[in-house]
Amino acid sequence: MIRLSVPVRQALARLVLPALIAASFGLMLIGKADTVLVERARTQLADVVVPLYAVLGRPIGTVRDAIAEIRRLILLRSENARLREENERLRRWYDRALALEAENRALRRVLNAPADPTPIFTTARVVADVGGAYARSALVALEPNHAVRKGQVAVDASGLVGRVSEVGNRSARLLLLTDINSRIPVQVERTGTRAILAGTNAPRPRIQHWTGPEQPQPGDRIVTSSEAGAMPAGLPVGIVREGRTGLEVEPFADLDRLDFVRLHDFGLSGILSPDQVTRPAQRPRRNGG
């Protein structure tokens, strides 16, 4: 250890704080200038903490399940009545779906149209909600040697969740469709009107920039559109609702209680990385793509 006199040491100690504050500003500059480096640091940290979360999440999951179970027991009667009513409605839809499926098959045969290929997917567990007040993202745990790539589409049991924004060895980060940086090409199922679903960090993303004269109406179902090759068409996204500032979409996916998500590989390469949404100019990094 270097021997220093007390005044010198005190002076050095006094300098540490300003130096570190300067270093924070330096980090901000690095974060702006070299996003690749920062992203690598983030994924490496995620790789370290994700197994930890997977272990810690287990007892919490048990407690959560127990609470849900108790709530279900309390609401058994009303739940039963609701399900009975819903079952009746769904049965009508089921008949309708069977008829449509048969018709669809017949039409496909007539047209010789190939059926949509079943996409390859990886199922992953959401282990942490790491958003805070200014972002909506989640960490998922993956097996090593997984096939998940940046830009893949994340779907839960009921609808679109978001996209994969960063991939590590054992973890991936999802950019949820409610995040302020999320822009998803969608269309109104009823009319086929194209639009953009823009996240605002609020629970309901906004629908904007629709084309054509027909405005989306509250109650319309929104599905993804294949515009720009970023998404496969037709994934369920949500329902249009009248918001305070304009039309919003209530997502089908339960974004507050994400548990398992499917990460789909639709083989689409036209996706923009989430960074590019805010920074259109990108240095050529890959050789030829």
Partner: protein
């Protein structure tokens, strides 16, 4: 050693040293655990930004009562960890926490003697100021106006979470040897 009076006597044995190390690193370890734990999916409102920033409370408490256990470089490290974990613009949390650290150090003599209520009000003032700065920095760095409501909610949660966290820290502080 140049000045033996400025340092506590060094423990001699290996176990004594390990014990000393464990005690002096306990506040930081607890701060890191709290930071990680807030990201666990609890299944409620986590995505509305309704989670307190425990790092603010950690840095505030330890800087106020045991600044030797919360040196500036540790504060910096906590901030960088928080930024990397939440995919925030790198450096913002580090800056906020360092400013809190520096601010509390200047007010330490006056604040440490006060009652819990006054200290809590002090924390609330620090938290509100710094989270406003946080919002400003994020708006500046992303060049888009960030929504204000989740930030306000986060600020409220952070202030509300201080008493239970302080209770935990007081417990921890009492279990540490007087330095």
């Amino acid at each position: 050693m140049a000045s033996p009076i400025a340092r506590p006597p060094q423990p001699r044995g290996l176990w004594a040293r390990l014990d000393q190390l464990a005690r002096s690193s306990a506040p930081v370890a607890v701060a890191v655990i709290l930071l990680l734990a807030t990201a666990l999916p609890m299944g409620f409102a986590a995505h509305q930004g309704g989670l307190p920033l425990t790092a603010l409370a950690s840095v505030f408490f330890w800087t106020l009562y045991r600044p030797g256990l919360m040196p500036p470089w540790v504060v910096f490290g906590l901030g960088v960890l928080a930024d990397l974990l939440t995919a925030a613009p790198l450096g913002v949390s580090a800056l906020i926490l360092l400013l809190l650290h520096g601010g509390v150090l200047t007010q330490r003599r006056a604040l440490a003697k006060q009652s819990f209520l006054i200290v809590w009000i002090g924390f609330a003032l620090f938290a509100a100021t710094l989270l406003a700065l946080n919002w400003g920095m994020r708006t500046l760095l992303s060049l888009t106006i960030q929504p204000i409501a989740p930030g306000l909610f986060e600020c409220g949660m952070t202030i509300a979470a201080y008493p239970p966290l302080a209770w935990l820290f007081v417990r921890l502080e009492r279990s540490l040897e007087p330095v």
